[in-house]
Assembly symmetry: D2
């Protein structure tokens, strides 16, 4: 997403004048503030504001647990303890506000995470720009044959070309007609709240999205996961990079216990104990269904 000179100037102006504050400051995050990190062909992620840092998580935990926590553990140990034991409230004490530009079909998946604050660009009030997501050839994948909600192999040759051509042409035609319907030259011009319905779901929208760190981690666990749709995963991955610089200790604990961890069922634990005791267990003797067994093997081999 090439920024316009105006946008670049606006970002530079916002970064030009640091001010004094008594609040907690995360140096790692200050280095990212306002900068536009490109995602997909026209999307972006920008940090607009944040509240708190690793120390704020520790401080909130110490309100809860009192002086006892001061001696026992260092900050990293305490943060890892909180994450391991699902103590979510200290992580809720950090907050981030992001500016996201994203295709509408991604926005519709994103918004299912309800515990966040959102201000979206209103196509009822204003006119959308002519910007559509057109996948890179490497992302133009066939329907998975094993997973109803996944992708298989990348399309090749003529099929890929046909798809790209259709996506581009339909986007262009829809937008041309959007403009024609809105136009007030020689006609009244259709209401914006109606004209927008002609636009396809790969058009870009944008919003401010504000969320606390606990709910952000929940979002990232689901959306930075390898099973998430590529077009939302790339946003999640960009956000992971930012969060790592913002609250490195919390992010480390998140990586170990959530992203890299796994939840095993009572049945799976029973199988593991049998295997650790030297027994060979297969799907039939495991008590698991074929699907569960396959997922179990993926996790532990």
């Amino acid at each position: 997403m090439p920024l316009s000179p105006d946008q670049i100037a606006e970002i530079e102006a916002a970064r030009a004048t640091p001010r004094l504050t008594l609040r907690a400051v995360s140096e790692g995050m200050e280095s990212h503030l306002y900068k536009a990190y490109p995602v997909l062909d026209h999307g972006l992620v920008r940090v607009i504001d944040y509240m708190g840092d690793d120390a704020a998580i520790v401080q909130a935990a110490r309100v809860s647990y009192g002086a006892g926590t001061k001696h026992v553990q260092n900050d990293e140990g305490l943060i890892r303890y909180l994450m391991r034991h699902w103590h979510s409230t200290p992580f809720e004490m950090c907050e981030i506000k992001l500016h996201i530009k994203l295709p509408v079909f991604v926005a519709r998946q994103w918004i299912r995470h309800r515990t966040a604050n959102v201000n979206e660009y209103s196509a009822r009030y204003s006119i959308l720009d002519r910007e559509f997501y057109i996948p890179e050839p490497a992302q133009l994948a066939a329907q998975s044959v094993v997973n109803n909600q996944g992708r298989g192999e990348v399309l090749q040759g003529e099929e890929a070309a046909r798809v790209l051509e259709m996506l581009k042409r339909d986007a262009a035609t829809s937008y041309d007609h959007y403009e024609e319907m809105l136009s007030q030259e020689g006609q009244q011009g259709l209401a914006r709240e109606l004209a927008r319905m002609n636009l396809p779901m790969n058009i870009y929208t944008q919003w401010y999205w504000k969320v606390d760190l606990h709910n952000l981690f929940h979002f990232l666990r689901l959306r930075a996961d390898s099973h998430a749709q590529y077009e939302i995963r790339v946003y999640a991955e960009e956000m992971c990079r930012l969060v790592k610089d913002w609250v490195p200790l919390a992010y480390g604990a998140f990586e170990d216990y959530r992203m890299g961890g796994a939840t095993l069922s009572a049945k799976a634990l029973a199988v593991l104990k049998r295997r650790l005791a030297g027994e060979a267990v297969d799907q039939e003797s495991s008590g698991m269904s074929k699907g569960e067994w396959r997922e179990f093997i993926e996790v532990l081999g």
Copy 2:
């Protein structure tokens, strides 16, 4: 929205076999259960389930306020008192589950109400039907010249015809290409999670939407309001009709205090007192801005 014979049979089957329950029953709501009430050209509203009735609101209030409430007031008086004094928790004790079929651009507005539970049809997993919202001629309105997010006069003649033609043609073309991209005849077939991005926002989606009565009233106040976009207002109006039969006392209080009421500012109250004392007040002497004054006059003349 003409239902298919299968759908009609399904609804009739669901309504054919009443069962015994010890729970609170609202006869008014039972008469609506499962029935598909058409909205727009292909949309619908259906009640799938509900919890509670007017008496449940009263009962919950009496848990809070104890025996004292038993003598003082009848049910209607108590419900009106609760509504007037913004006691929201007794209304939260009722719950409704609706099946809604609606255009995507309406769904995007709807989902901004976050305090509800949603299961939406997944176009990542399944294939959407060829159904698009095409406005009635009477709804094909120009952009308002006074309100950035509103409609003005209805489009006439050729302009209206051109708009309808564009909406219909682009929907048809987009859907044709959606099918072509998905097709696995002689090609791999694009992943559903990608192909869906070509569809315009007047395509229909559907979901189960579950909400408590307090949050439903909040939704209805905003969306059944005359300033709401027509395409969501018709859903809200249909839901008002259902809620009225479900909890007639609560709905009556809602109509009087919320839908028909108005919130006046401190400035507006001061002006009213002056006017009631016989003074003539105009915008300049009111202390209100022009916009505020115009809205104040709309409310009270």
Copy 3:
């Protein structure tokens, strides 16, 4: 908690007159409706209403995933799949309303679960009854020496007697004074909203608590866990029994994947793979802290 004859009559009346409904009915839950199940010395759990059953979870999932789900799996398999993959929205489609009577210090822990609706008896408006939680001797435990928020051995002999005597006497004195302050005989009588502050936190309060099944499972996982405080755990266990009769398939999946399962970190998974490959791993070579290692051993031996 011995019910008064009035309360017994009220429950019998509520259960006496089944009515016809077209809604989903859970026979298992109907058998519990309104009945008061005792918890602790004066507490209770009662189901006042519910919405949905196992089939409603399946039905909501099929709205999302379309016809594809109809063929592949039976209801139990689908419910287990949803639970395993953290698909929370279908479980949110079920709702339960409970009447709970509980000590204030338990209520304060309970209310930290925010995604629920609550109507609590108001001591500002009404007068609380003279009912206090006094632990059974077997529950009168010493502070744990290993866990800052846990119990150790049961107190014995004179110490136990002293504690019980203090708890009983202070409760009685506080309540006597509460009544004296409120009394309007020969004096004005202190406002109820002030007098209540003299009461200790083992006094009983009561509320209606309404929650969806997904959030209820989250509550039960934390509060029916062996590390939860006994006085809230007994409520959670009673609720588990009710939920099992309400939605047996969902409860079965919950037991296997949540209550009986465990979340392992990336480090723990790495250790497991090494052990499964025949390597002996101890805490030092595991990369885990002592606390993590101890918890890991508890799970897998």
Copy 4:
């Protein structure tokens, strides 16, 4: 609440070292950060962190409404417009984190506002201090004879003395016994999670409370209202003072439209129109109940 020298030193240290930030800064709020403002006899309100300022509200609104809003209105006009039309999302873009010390019976009322993040001092984990709320003589009021949940005249003479004596003595006795039960000298010592139940509800607890500006305004409207209980109202009033310095434009709009405004029912509006047209209307001809009429007269005379 006299702070300890340690606490004073901690606050001074936190305020001693301003750091540079690129984030939005509210000078008004910086002057309050970390300072402990006393409330009641041992309570306090402290701002620990904040996100955003008046300009952040405007900026978020402009994401939604696009460039159009840039020309039409100045910041104050836009903020007033948003408040008047219940556009809540821009106000949600500001966040505040407070440290509050408050009696438990106030905390129980406070926590009913669910849309906030809380870390409370854990009496399961740590030992509470010997600090109890004992009302000032001027706050020792009788039960209201007109309002079930309100106060009447201030208690006088011996009655007042008796009440104060009881409150003080019971608090002291309960705390003495709390300490005796916990003591490990010559005995095992009761678990903290049990001993706490002996403490009365005027003991002080403390928490970090984080909330967005929209939900904070909702809290303040209800709790700074003259009908709120005095002991929570003084916290709300202190917070109003802080918010006014943080976001002066938003606070001004809140004062005019929420705190000083009133919501009138359809019936009340109809009566007003008749009165403005010169008609004399009394309760009987108003269609309102006696209670509604009395409240209506309170608002408009």
